[in-house]
């Protein structure tokens, strides 16, 4: 009986170890977070109960995971879908915890520079600008993305005007907004702003912004 138990223990240990190793090698399981997508906001709020903040934190972790998959793991054909899922997670986070700053940093620093992501980023930042009514940064970022990526001067003007009316807005932001609003052009202004953005984002997230700076510099030549 003892011998049989030891054999069973050995067998279970081997199968457990093998399954763990196979799981860590499998991109299919890792990508489930991308495939399944977030629950609707109302459902998230109901499931979260009193742990709304933690669910918002979980959504941000899902964004990190999806971004990691986009950069290192997913084939080109699946990236567009992954970007849409990333936008969905950010939207849900802004619904359940509209004050959470990471949502807006990631929207302006990652989503805005993805293909077709600019409009989603602006929508998320607009929601944040409404919730964080004291914060000049979010309407400013929304205005810049509208100006730089969508070339929508009217929308850019709307957000820039909102930003400049808020307390604590720095001269650099006012100056940049003014240049954008009066000239409605200027590669130089875009580059200087993107450099500012680089100082507010961690090094791991500089790739997309630096690519945009290179594109702008090349177009200016």
């Amino acid at each position: 009986m003892q011998r049989m138990l030891w054999s069973l223990l050995l067998l279970a240990t081997i199968s457990y170890g093998a399954s763990r190793m196979l799981v860590s090698d499998s991109s299919a399981i890792l990508s489930t977070v991308v495939q399944s997508g977030p629950l609707p906001s109302v459902a998230q709020q109901i499931v979260a109960g009193p742990f709304v903040g933690m669910v918002a934190d979980y959504n941000i972790l899902a964004v990190f995971t999806i971004y990691d998959q986009i950069i290192y793991k997913l084939p080109e054909s699946e990236k567009q879908h992954a970007w849409q899922q990333l936008a969905s997670y950010l939207q849900r986070t802004s619904d359940i915890d509209p004050l959470f700053m990471d949502t807006y940093r990631l929207s302006s620093g990652l989503l805005a520079y993805s293909e077709h992501g600019a409009q989603d980023a602006i929508a998320i930042l607009a929601k944040g600008a409404e919730a964080r009514s004291w914060d000049w940064e979010l309407p400013f970022l929304a205005g810049f993305i509208a100006y730089d990526s969508l070339k929508d001067s009217e929308q850019a003007f709307y957000f820039m005007e909102m930003a400049t009316k808020r307390p604590g807005v720095p001269p650099v932001a006012i100056g940049l907004a003014s240049r954008m609003l009066t000239q409605q052009q200027g590669v130089e202004a875009s580059i200087s702003f993107l450099h500012y953005l680089l100082t507010t984002m961690p090094a791991a997230y500089h790739g997309q912004i630096q690519r945009r700076i290179r594109e702008l510099k090349e177009s200016a030549l």
Binding site: V42, P50, G53, M54, I60, L99, M101
Partner: protein, 269 residues
């Protein structure tokens, strides 16, 4: 009155000698370390993430105290009839239940004091260690506010659970009904909130909507998510809201406890 105080004293001594109670107190003190580790994964709102983890973990621990200490104590007293050790002249059923409730509340207050200390330590560390960009609006004193507001909510919860315990017939029933009531009190407020959404209202028949709203009144607003989120972002809660919060929970706790006294004085033991 003297008998009530004596039962309160016995209850406190009984609970603080329990290893599970000591575990809850130590676990609350350890919670800031978990919050510090977890927050390292995040980029900017590190202070907010720390408060989120701390608020969620302490809420779970205090709810566990209610379920596993209060309910098992009442289960043993009522289910195994050990309340007869107390229920002999001059101790009335009212004095016994009031003493038990006061003792359980006092021990929960001790856990809240530990929560307050741990929360303030976490905030002090966050303020000392991180720059403004990583801790939007967090100030010293929010750990205190979080613990007080959470304590008030948990008094409601404890009173509701005591009412369930004096009505149920055994420990299994007490646990099942208490867990179900806590689950409903956590999930109903967001459902009611969602039902007030214009889009959802179009698809929900008015009868269902008003029925859900009515059920919502049976349970206290134990969904402390809004308070925790506001404090995590350094948003001050205005004094009127705090006053209403206190009034709501003290009234609810009183209502449940009076019901519990009525049921307990009439039930067969």
């Amino acid at each position: 009155m003297t008998t009530t105080i004596e039962i309160t004293r016995i209850t406190i001594l009984e609970i603080i000698r329990m290893r599970i109670f000591q575990f809850f107190a130590v676990a609350i003190l350890v919670t800031p370390i978990i919050a510090l580790v977890f927050s390292n994964i995040f980029i900017f709102d590190i202070g907010k993430v720390r408060i989120d983890v701390f608020a969620a973990a302490t809420r779970l621990l205090i709810t566990s105290y209610i379920l596993f200490v209060a309910v098992t104590l009442m289960g043993r007293d009522i289910g195994q009839k050990s309340c007869y050790q107390f229920l002999m002249p001059p101790v009335s059923r009212h004095a016994y239940l009031t003493g038990r409730f006061a003792g359980l509340t006092f021990c929960m207050l001790m856990l809240m004091v530990v929560t307050m200390i741990a929360g303030e330590l976490l905030i002090a560390l966050t303020l000392a260690e991180t720059t403004e960009i990583y801790r939007h609006g967090i100030t010293q004193g929010q750990g205190f506010t979080l613990a007080i507001l959470s304590f008030v909510q948990h008094i409601s919860l404890l009173a509701m659970v005591i009412m369930i315990c004096v009505w149920a017939t055994g420990l299994a029933e007490m646990l099942v009904f208490s867990i179900a009531a806590i689950f409903l009190s956590w999930t109903l407020p967001p459902i009611i909130h969602a039902l007030q959404n214009q889009e959802v209202m179009q698809h929900v028949p008015p009868l269902i909507s008003s029925l859900t709203n009515s059920i919502g009144y049976i349970f206290p607003q134990l969904n402390g998510g809004d308070i925790a989120v506001a404090l995590a972002h350094g948003v001050n809660i205005n004094s009127t809201d705090i006053l209403l919060h206190f009034t709501e929970h003290f009234s609810y706790a009183l209502m449940m406890f009076v019901l519990a006294l009525i049921i307990f004085s009439r039930r067969d033991l």
